[in-house]
Amino acid sequence: MSFAWVNDWMPELLVAALGTLRMTALAFLLAAFLGLLLALARLSRRASLSRLAFGYIEIVRGMPAVMLLFLIYFALTSWGITLGAFAAAVVGLGLNGAAYLAEIYRAGIGAIHPGQREAAQMLGMRHFQVMRYVIFPQALRVVLPPMANYLIALLKDTSIASLISAPELMLRARDLSSEYFMPMQLYLLVGAMYLAMAYPLSRGVRYMELRLLK
Protein backbone atom coordinates (compact mmCIF):
# COMPACT_ATOMS: atom_id res chain seq x y z
CA MET A 1 0.00 0.00 0.00
CA SER A 2 1.37 3.34 -1.04
CA PHE A 3 1.08 6.53 0.90
CA ALA A 4 2.29 8.70 -1.96
CA TRP A 5 -0.99 10.65 -1.91
CA VAL A 6 -0.18 11.94 1.54
CA ASN A 7 2.80 13.68 0.00
CA ASP A 8 0.57 15.14 -2.68
CA TRP A 9 -1.98 16.47 -0.24
CA MET A 10 0.11 17.54 2.69
CA PRO A 11 1.58 20.84 1.42
CA GLU A 12 -1.89 22.10 0.50
CA LEU A 13 -3.47 20.83 3.68
CA LEU A 14 -0.82 22.43 5.87
CA VAL A 15 -1.37 25.81 4.25
CA ALA A 16 -5.12 25.34 4.73
CA ALA A 17 -4.61 24.38 8.39
CA LEU A 18 -2.77 27.63 8.85
CA GLY A 19 -5.87 29.38 7.48
CA THR A 20 -7.97 27.53 10.07
CA LEU A 21 -5.67 28.65 12.87
CA ARG A 22 -5.71 32.26 11.67
CA MET A 23 -9.49 32.26 11.36
CA THR A 24 -9.84 30.74 14.84
CA ALA A 25 -7.52 33.28 16.43
CA LEU A 26 -9.15 36.32 14.79
CA ALA A 27 -12.72 35.14 15.45
CA PHE A 28 -11.78 34.39 19.07
CA LEU A 29 -10.30 37.85 19.62
CA LEU A 30 -13.39 39.47 18.11
CA ALA A 31 -15.73 37.28 20.19
CA ALA A 32 -13.73 37.90 23.38
CA PHE A 33 -13.87 41.67 22.89
CA LEU A 34 -17.50 41.96 21.75
CA GLY A 35 -18.52 39.45 24.42
CA LEU A 36 -17.02 41.66 27.12
CA LEU A 37 -18.93 44.69 25.85
CA LEU A 38 -22.12 42.60 25.76
CA ALA A 39 -21.59 41.29 29.30
CA LEU A 40 -20.98 44.81 30.64
CA ALA A 41 -24.08 46.05 28.84
CA ARG A 42 -26.03 43.11 30.20
CA LEU A 43 -24.93 43.98 33.77
CA SER A 44 -25.45 47.71 33.28
CA ARG A 45 -27.87 49.50 35.55
CA ARG A 46 -29.31 51.15 32.45
CA ALA A 47 -32.29 48.91 31.68
CA SER A 48 -32.43 49.72 27.96
CA LEU A 49 -28.78 48.76 27.47
CA SER A 50 -29.24 45.56 29.44
CA ARG A 51 -32.32 44.58 27.44
CA LEU A 52 -30.55 45.27 24.14
CA ALA A 53 -27.66 42.98 25.11
CA PHE A 54 -30.09 40.33 26.36
CA GLY A 55 -31.98 40.46 23.05
CA TYR A 56 -28.78 40.10 21.03
CA ILE A 57 -27.61 37.14 23.08
CA GLU A 58 -30.93 35.32 22.85
CA ILE A 59 -31.32 35.90 19.09
CA VAL A 60 -27.79 34.88 18.19
CA ARG A 61 -27.86 31.79 20.41
CA GLY A 62 -31.09 30.73 18.77
CA MET A 63 -29.65 30.82 15.25
CA PRO A 64 -27.31 28.34 13.57
CA ALA A 65 -23.86 29.91 13.16
CA VAL A 66 -23.82 28.91 9.51
CA MET A 67 -26.91 31.05 8.94
CA LEU A 68 -25.12 34.06 10.38
CA LEU A 69 -22.27 33.39 7.94
CA PHE A 70 -24.70 33.16 5.01
CA LEU A 71 -26.39 36.38 6.10
CA ILE A 72 -23.09 38.23 6.22
CA TYR A 73 -21.55 36.73 3.10
CA PHE A 74 -24.53 36.43 0.74
CA ALA A 75 -27.32 38.64 2.07
CA LEU A 76 -25.44 41.78 3.13
CA THR A 77 -24.36 42.38 -0.47
CA SER A 78 -27.92 43.47 -1.22
CA TRP A 79 -27.31 46.35 1.23
CA GLY A 80 -24.06 47.15 -0.54
CA ILE A 81 -21.83 45.55 2.12
CA THR A 82 -19.48 43.05 0.56
CA LEU A 83 -16.95 41.14 2.60
CA GLY A 84 -14.46 38.56 1.37
CA ALA A 85 -15.17 34.96 2.38
CA PHE A 86 -12.44 34.89 5.03
CA ALA A 87 -13.48 38.22 6.58
CA ALA A 88 -17.14 37.22 6.51
CA ALA A 89 -16.29 33.99 8.32
CA VAL A 90 -14.28 35.82 10.99
CA VAL A 91 -17.04 38.39 11.55
CA GLY A 92 -19.79 35.76 11.56
CA LEU A 93 -18.02 33.41 13.96
CA GLY A 94 -17.00 36.38 16.12
CA LEU A 95 -20.55 37.72 16.37
CA ASN A 96 -21.79 34.23 17.15
CA GLY A 97 -19.12 33.57 19.78
CA ALA A 98 -19.65 36.95 21.44
CA ALA A 99 -23.09 35.80 22.59
CA TYR A 100 -21.63 32.68 24.21
CA LEU A 101 -18.68 34.42 25.79
CA ALA A 102 -20.92 37.20 27.14
CA GLU A 103 -22.83 34.59 29.12
CA ILE A 104 -19.59 33.01 30.34
CA TYR A 105 -18.31 36.42 31.48
CA ARG A 106 -21.61 37.23 33.16
CA ALA A 107 -21.53 33.98 35.10
CA GLY A 108 -17.92 34.67 36.11
CA ILE A 109 -18.68 38.17 37.35
CA GLY A 110 -21.80 36.88 39.11
CA ALA A 111 -19.72 34.29 40.95
CA ILE A 112 -17.84 37.01 42.85
CA HIS A 113 -19.29 37.64 46.31
CA PRO A 114 -21.08 41.04 46.56
CA GLY A 115 -18.95 41.82 49.62
CA GLN A 116 -15.96 42.21 47.30
CA ARG A 117 -17.64 45.01 45.42
CA GLU A 118 -18.73 46.68 48.66
CA ALA A 119 -15.25 46.53 50.18
CA ALA A 120 -13.83 48.11 47.02
CA GLN A 121 -16.53 50.78 47.00
CA MET A 122 -15.74 51.64 50.60
CA LEU A 123 -12.14 52.33 49.56
CA GLY A 124 -13.60 55.06 47.38
CA MET A 125 -13.34 53.22 44.10
CA ARG A 126 -15.52 54.21 41.20
CA HIS A 127 -17.47 51.64 39.23
CA PHE A 128 -14.80 51.01 36.58
CA GLN A 129 -12.06 50.79 39.24
CA VAL A 130 -14.06 48.20 41.19
CA MET A 131 -14.34 46.18 37.98
CA ARG A 132 -10.74 46.68 36.88
CA TYR A 133 -8.94 46.01 40.16
CA VAL A 134 -11.25 43.74 42.15
CA ILE A 135 -13.92 41.99 40.08
CA PHE A 136 -12.15 41.18 36.78
CA PRO A 137 -8.99 39.66 38.26
CA GLN A 138 -11.10 37.30 40.33
CA ALA A 139 -13.62 36.56 37.58
CA LEU A 140 -10.76 35.69 35.23
CA ARG A 141 -9.98 32.55 37.24
CA VAL A 142 -13.57 31.42 36.92
CA VAL A 143 -13.87 32.36 33.27
CA LEU A 144 -10.62 31.07 31.74
CA PRO A 145 -11.44 27.34 31.59
CA PRO A 146 -14.86 27.75 29.89
CA MET A 147 -13.29 30.36 27.58
CA ALA A 148 -10.64 27.88 26.54
CA ASN A 149 -13.30 25.24 25.98
CA TYR A 150 -15.06 27.68 23.70
CA LEU A 151 -11.78 28.21 21.83
CA ILE A 152 -11.55 24.47 21.14
CA ALA A 153 -15.15 24.34 19.92
CA LEU A 154 -14.46 27.37 17.71
CA LEU A 155 -11.41 25.72 16.15
CA LYS A 156 -13.65 22.91 14.91
CA ASP A 157 -16.57 25.19 14.04
CA THR A 158 -14.42 27.13 11.57
CA SER A 159 -15.10 24.15 9.29
CA ILE A 160 -18.54 25.61 8.51
CA ALA A 161 -16.72 28.50 6.82
CA SER A 162 -16.06 26.04 3.98
CA LEU A 163 -19.75 26.51 3.09
CA ILE A 164 -19.00 30.08 2.05
CA SER A 165 -15.71 28.96 0.45
CA ALA A 166 -13.47 30.66 3.01
CA PRO A 167 -9.94 29.29 2.76
CA GLU A 168 -9.46 26.83 5.59
CA LEU A 169 -8.82 23.15 6.16
CA MET A 170 -12.28 21.72 5.51
CA LEU A 171 -12.66 23.52 2.20
CA ARG A 172 -9.33 22.18 0.97
CA ALA A 173 -10.32 18.69 2.12
CA ARG A 174 -13.54 18.81 0.11
CA ASP A 175 -11.67 20.07 -2.95
CA LEU A 176 -9.10 17.29 -2.72
CA SER A 177 -11.80 14.73 -2.09
CA SER A 178 -13.55 15.56 -5.33
CA GLU A 179 -10.20 15.50 -7.10
CA TYR A 180 -8.80 12.20 -5.79
CA PHE A 181 -11.95 10.20 -4.88
CA MET A 182 -10.35 8.88 -1.69
CA PRO A 183 -12.74 10.29 0.95
CA MET A 184 -11.86 7.72 3.64
CA GLN A 185 -8.12 8.40 3.60
CA LEU A 186 -8.55 12.11 3.12
CA TYR A 187 -11.11 12.80 5.84
CA LEU A 188 -9.32 10.55 8.33
CA LEU A 189 -6.15 12.52 7.67
CA VAL A 190 -7.92 15.87 7.99
CA GLY A 191 -9.66 14.64 11.14
CA ALA A 192 -6.25 13.77 12.56
CA MET A 193 -5.04 17.27 11.71
CA TYR A 194 -7.95 18.89 13.58
CA LEU A 195 -7.21 16.60 16.51
CA ALA A 196 -3.53 17.56 16.40
CA MET A 197 -4.54 21.23 16.73
CA ALA A 198 -7.28 20.73 19.33
CA TYR A 199 -5.50 18.26 21.59
CA PRO A 200 -2.77 20.62 22.86
CA LEU A 201 -5.48 23.15 23.59
CA SER A 202 -7.54 20.74 25.64
CA ARG A 203 -4.40 19.64 27.53
CA GLY A 204 -3.81 23.32 28.21
CA VAL A 205 -7.34 23.66 29.59
CA ARG A 206 -6.86 20.65 31.85
CA TYR A 207 -3.61 22.15 33.16
CA MET A 208 -5.27 25.53 33.71
CA GLU A 209 -8.16 23.98 35.63
CA LEU A 210 -5.74 22.19 37.92
CA ARG A 211 -3.76 25.36 38.49
CA LEU A 212 -6.69 27.73 39.01
CA LEU A 213 -9.19 25.59 40.85
CA LYS A 214 -6.81 23.54 43.01
Binding site: G115, E118, A119, G124, M125, R126, Q138
Partner: protein, 266 residues
Protein backbone atom coordinates in the same frame (compact mmCIF):
# COMPACT_ATOMS: atom_id res chain seq x y z
CA UNK B 1 -13.54 71.41 68.20
CA UNK B 2 -14.49 68.32 70.18
CA UNK B 3 -18.23 68.96 70.05
CA UNK B 4 -18.45 69.21 66.30
CA UNK B 5 -21.01 66.86 64.76
CA UNK B 6 -19.41 64.53 62.23
CA UNK B 7 -22.33 62.29 61.33
CA UNK B 8 -25.91 63.36 61.28
CA UNK B 9 -28.74 60.99 60.51
CA UNK B 10 -32.09 62.70 59.96
CA UNK B 11 -35.44 60.98 59.59
CA UNK B 12 -33.79 57.92 58.08
CA UNK B 13 -36.12 55.18 56.92
CA UNK B 14 -35.38 52.09 54.90
CA UNK B 15 -37.80 49.51 53.64
CA UNK B 16 -37.09 46.28 51.80
CA UNK B 17 -40.35 45.46 50.04
CA UNK B 18 -42.99 45.45 52.74
CA UNK B 19 -40.57 45.32 55.64
CA UNK B 20 -39.63 48.59 57.26
CA UNK B 21 -36.13 47.95 58.60
CA UNK B 22 -35.45 51.51 59.77
CA UNK B 23 -38.20 53.80 61.00
CA UNK B 24 -37.42 57.48 60.99
CA UNK B 25 -34.09 57.27 62.81
CA UNK B 26 -32.42 60.45 64.07
CA UNK B 27 -28.86 60.35 65.33
CA UNK B 28 -25.88 62.65 65.72
CA UNK B 29 -22.31 61.49 66.26
CA UNK B 30 -19.68 63.95 67.41
CA UNK B 31 -16.15 63.97 65.97
CA UNK B 32 -14.04 61.67 68.13
CA UNK B 33 -17.03 59.94 69.67
CA UNK B 34 -17.19 56.16 69.99
CA UNK B 35 -20.73 55.02 69.56
CA UNK B 36 -21.75 51.40 70.06
CA UNK B 37 -24.99 50.17 68.52
CA UNK B 38 -26.55 47.16 70.21
CA UNK B 39 -29.87 45.38 69.97
CA UNK B 40 -31.39 42.06 68.92
CA UNK B 41 -30.74 40.71 65.41
CA UNK B 42 -33.07 42.16 62.83
CA UNK B 43 -33.35 45.41 64.77
CA UNK B 44 -31.80 47.46 61.94
CA UNK B 45 -28.28 48.03 63.33
CA UNK B 46 -26.46 46.83 60.25
CA UNK B 47 -28.83 48.60 57.88
CA UNK B 48 -28.22 51.86 59.75
CA UNK B 49 -24.49 51.44 59.23
CA UNK B 50 -24.92 50.50 55.58
CA UNK B 51 -27.11 53.55 54.98
CA UNK B 52 -24.44 55.79 56.49
CA UNK B 53 -21.93 54.24 54.05
CA UNK B 54 -24.52 54.57 51.28
CA UNK B 55 -24.29 50.86 50.52
CA UNK B 56 -28.05 51.02 50.96
CA UNK B 57 -30.10 53.88 49.60
CA UNK B 58 -32.42 55.34 52.22
CA UNK B 59 -36.15 55.18 51.46
CA UNK B 60 -36.60 58.48 53.26
CA UNK B 61 -34.46 60.91 55.23
CA UNK B 62 -30.77 61.43 54.75
CA UNK B 63 -27.27 61.11 56.16
CA UNK B 64 -24.84 64.00 56.46
CA UNK B 65 -21.12 63.46 57.00
CA UNK B 66 -18.93 66.46 57.83
CA UNK B 67 -21.69 68.75 56.63
CA UNK B 68 -22.12 66.99 53.29
CA UNK B 69 -25.16 64.94 52.34
CA UNK B 70 -24.36 61.38 51.29
CA UNK B 71 -25.90 60.06 48.09
CA UNK B 72 -28.02 63.04 47.25
CA UNK B 73 -27.40 66.75 47.15
CA UNK B 74 -29.29 69.97 46.86
CA UNK B 75 -28.97 71.73 43.53
CA UNK B 76 -31.13 74.77 42.80
CA UNK B 77 -33.28 73.87 45.77
CA UNK B 78 -34.01 70.37 44.48
CA UNK B 79 -32.65 67.05 45.71
CA UNK B 80 -30.64 65.26 43.02
CA UNK B 81 -28.80 61.95 43.02
CA UNK B 82 -25.04 62.07 43.37
CA UNK B 83 -22.85 60.68 40.62
CA UNK B 84 -20.71 57.56 41.01
CA UNK B 85 -17.68 59.89 41.30
CA UNK B 86 -19.14 62.03 44.10
CA UNK B 87 -20.26 59.05 46.17
CA UNK B 88 -16.82 57.48 45.74
CA UNK B 89 -15.15 60.68 46.95
CA UNK B 90 -17.29 60.75 50.11
CA UNK B 91 -16.57 57.07 50.78
CA UNK B 92 -12.82 57.67 50.80
CA UNK B 93 -13.42 59.43 54.13
CA UNK B 94 -15.29 56.46 55.61
CA UNK B 95 -13.66 53.19 56.58
CA UNK B 96 -15.85 50.12 56.86
CA UNK B 97 -15.02 46.80 58.45
CA UNK B 98 -17.33 43.96 57.46
CA UNK B 99 -18.46 40.91 59.33
CA UNK B 100 -17.06 38.68 56.55
CA UNK B 101 -13.75 40.63 56.22
CA UNK B 102 -14.04 40.88 52.41
CA UNK B 103 -10.32 40.94 51.82
CA UNK B 104 -9.43 40.71 48.13
CA UNK B 105 -8.36 37.07 47.75
CA UNK B 106 -6.21 37.67 44.67
CA UNK B 107 -3.96 40.13 46.53
CA UNK B 108 -1.48 39.64 49.38
CA UNK B 109 -2.04 41.30 52.76
CA UNK B 110 0.25 44.17 51.78
CA UNK B 111 -1.35 44.58 48.34
CA UNK B 112 -4.80 44.64 49.94
CA UNK B 113 -3.73 47.60 52.03
CA UNK B 114 -1.92 49.32 49.15
CA UNK B 115 -4.76 49.12 46.63
CA UNK B 116 -6.70 52.13 47.93
CA UNK B 117 -3.74 54.50 48.37
CA UNK B 118 -2.27 53.55 44.97
CA UNK B 119 -5.40 53.49 42.84
CA UNK B 120 -7.78 55.86 44.59
CA UNK B 121 -5.47 58.37 46.30
CA UNK B 122 -2.93 57.96 43.44
CA UNK B 123 -0.08 57.96 45.90
CA UNK B 124 3.34 56.96 44.51
CA UNK B 125 4.32 53.46 45.63
CA UNK B 126 7.44 54.59 47.48
CA UNK B 127 5.25 56.84 49.58
CA UNK B 128 2.37 54.37 50.07
CA UNK B 129 4.42 51.30 50.94
CA UNK B 130 5.95 52.61 54.20
CA UNK B 131 2.46 53.68 55.31
CA UNK B 132 0.99 50.25 54.49
CA UNK B 133 3.86 48.44 56.22
CA UNK B 134 3.40 50.68 59.25
CA UNK B 135 -0.28 49.77 59.39
CA UNK B 136 0.50 46.06 59.09
CA UNK B 137 2.90 46.41 62.01
CA UNK B 138 0.28 48.33 63.95
CA UNK B 139 -2.20 45.43 63.66
CA UNK B 140 0.61 43.02 64.54
CA UNK B 141 0.98 41.37 61.14
CA UNK B 142 4.20 42.76 59.68
CA UNK B 143 5.42 39.18 59.17
CA UNK B 144 2.37 38.36 57.03
CA UNK B 145 2.90 41.04 54.39
CA UNK B 146 3.20 38.55 51.52
CA UNK B 147 0.52 36.12 52.70
CA UNK B 148 -2.67 35.70 50.70
CA UNK B 149 -5.94 35.95 52.66
CA UNK B 150 -6.62 32.20 52.41
CA UNK B 151 -3.41 31.63 54.38
CA UNK B 152 -4.57 33.88 57.24
CA UNK B 153 -6.83 33.05 60.16
CA UNK B 154 -10.13 34.89 60.49
CA UNK B 155 -8.71 37.18 63.15
CA UNK B 156 -5.67 37.97 61.01
CA UNK B 157 -7.86 38.65 57.96
CA UNK B 158 -10.00 41.05 59.95
CA UNK B 159 -6.93 42.88 61.24
CA UNK B 160 -5.65 43.28 57.67
CA UNK B 161 -9.12 44.53 56.69
CA UNK B 162 -8.92 47.17 59.43
CA UNK B 163 -5.46 48.21 58.22
CA UNK B 164 -6.81 48.40 54.67
CA UNK B 165 -9.50 50.84 55.79
CA UNK B 166 -7.04 52.91 57.82
CA UNK B 167 -4.75 53.30 54.82
CA UNK B 168 -7.31 55.69 53.35
CA UNK B 169 -6.95 57.89 56.44
CA UNK B 170 -10.69 57.97 57.11
CA UNK B 171 -12.29 60.41 59.49
CA UNK B 172 -14.93 57.85 60.42
CA UNK B 173 -14.77 54.10 60.94
CA UNK B 174 -17.79 51.81 60.74
CA UNK B 175 -17.57 48.36 62.30
CA UNK B 176 -20.33 45.99 61.24
CA UNK B 177 -20.24 43.07 63.68
CA UNK B 178 -16.52 42.83 63.07
CA UNK B 179 -16.05 39.83 65.35
CA UNK B 180 -19.28 37.88 64.75
CA UNK B 181 -17.76 35.55 62.15
CA UNK B 182 -14.72 34.74 64.27
CA UNK B 183 -13.96 31.73 66.42
CA UNK B 184 -14.18 32.78 70.08
CA UNK B 185 -10.42 32.54 70.67
CA UNK B 186 -9.75 35.01 67.81
CA UNK B 187 -12.17 37.72 68.96
CA UNK B 188 -9.77 39.28 71.45
CA UNK B 189 -7.00 40.13 68.98
CA UNK B 190 -9.43 42.05 66.76
CA UNK B 191 -11.09 43.87 69.67
CA UNK B 192 -7.66 44.95 70.89
CA UNK B 193 -6.91 46.60 67.56
CA UNK B 194 -10.26 48.44 67.71
CA UNK B 195 -9.56 49.50 71.31
CA UNK B 196 -6.21 50.88 70.23
CA UNK B 197 -7.93 52.92 67.50
CA UNK B 198 -10.43 54.23 70.03
CA UNK B 199 -7.61 55.45 72.24
CA UNK B 200 -6.15 57.32 69.26
CA UNK B 201 -9.34 59.33 68.98
CA UNK B 202 -10.90 57.84 65.86
CA UNK B 203 -14.62 58.51 65.42
CA UNK B 204 -16.29 55.12 65.40
CA UNK B 205 -19.68 53.54 64.98
CA UNK B 206 -19.56 50.00 66.27
CA UNK B 207 -22.32 47.49 65.72
CA UNK B 208 -21.54 44.65 68.07
CA UNK B 209 -22.83 41.75 70.12
CA UNK B 210 -19.89 41.98 72.53
CA UNK B 211 -21.48 43.78 75.48
CA UNK B 212 -18.34 43.89 77.60
CA UNK B 213 -16.42 45.40 74.72
CA UNK B 214 -19.18 47.95 74.05
CA UNK B 215 -19.08 48.97 77.70
CA UNK B 216 -15.27 49.31 77.67
CA UNK B 217 -14.79 51.21 74.49
CA UNK B 218 -17.91 53.29 73.86
CA UNK B 219 -18.66 56.82 75.07
CA UNK B 220 -22.29 56.24 74.32
CA UNK B 221 -24.48 53.30 73.49
CA UNK B 222 -27.68 53.22 71.51
CA UNK B 223 -30.12 50.34 71.71
CA UNK B 224 -32.11 49.51 68.60
CA UNK B 225 -35.24 47.44 68.32
CA UNK B 226 -37.61 46.96 65.39
CA UNK B 227 -35.97 49.69 63.34
CA UNK B 228 -35.96 52.41 66.00
CA UNK B 229 -33.55 53.71 68.60
CA UNK B 230 -35.32 52.75 71.83
CA UNK B 231 -32.71 53.78 74.37
CA UNK B 232 -29.39 55.52 74.62
CA UNK B 233 -26.90 56.70 77.18
CA UNK B 234 -23.39 56.33 78.57
CA UNK B 235 -22.47 52.65 79.01
CA UNK B 236 -22.34 52.52 82.81
CA UNK B 237 -25.83 53.99 83.14
CA UNK B 238 -27.29 51.88 80.41
CA UNK B 239 -25.83 48.62 81.66
CA UNK B 240 -25.97 49.16 85.45
CA UNK B 241 -29.44 50.61 85.65
CA UNK B 242 -31.33 50.19 82.39
CA UNK B 243 -34.49 52.23 82.58
CA UNK B 244 -36.16 51.28 79.34
CA UNK B 245 -38.06 47.96 79.43
CA UNK B 246 -36.75 46.90 76.01
CA UNK B 247 -33.16 47.53 77.05
CA UNK B 248 -33.80 45.47 80.19
CA UNK B 249 -35.29 42.65 78.14
CA UNK B 250 -32.44 42.70 75.65
CA UNK B 251 -29.72 42.73 78.29
CA UNK B 252 -31.44 39.93 80.19
CA UNK B 253 -31.55 37.83 77.01
CA UNK B 254 -27.86 38.48 76.37
CA UNK B 255 -26.91 37.56 79.94
CA UNK B 256 -28.92 34.36 79.72
CA UNK B 257 -27.24 33.40 76.47
CA UNK B 258 -23.82 34.07 77.95
CA UNK B 259 -24.67 32.04 81.05
CA UNK B 260 -25.82 29.17 78.87
CA UNK B 261 -22.66 29.36 76.77
CA UNK B 262 -20.51 29.32 79.90
CA UNK B 263 -22.34 26.40 81.50
CA UNK B 264 -22.29 24.33 78.30
CA UNK B 265 -18.60 25.05 77.90
CA UNK B 266 -17.88 23.98 81.49
Amino acid sequence: MPDQTLVEVAGLSKRFGDVEVLKHVDLAVRAGEKLAVIGPSGSGKTTLLRCIAHLEKPSAGHVTIAGERVGSKLADGRVVEMSDREIARIRTGIGMVFQRFNLFPHLTALENILLGPLKVLRMPREQAEPIALGLLAKVGLAHKRDAYPERLSGGQQQRVAIARSLAMQPKLMLFDEATSALDPELVGEVLNVIRQLAREGMTMLIVTHEMQFAEDVADRIIVMDHGSIVDEGPPHELFRSPSHPRTQAFLRAVLERQAMATSSAA
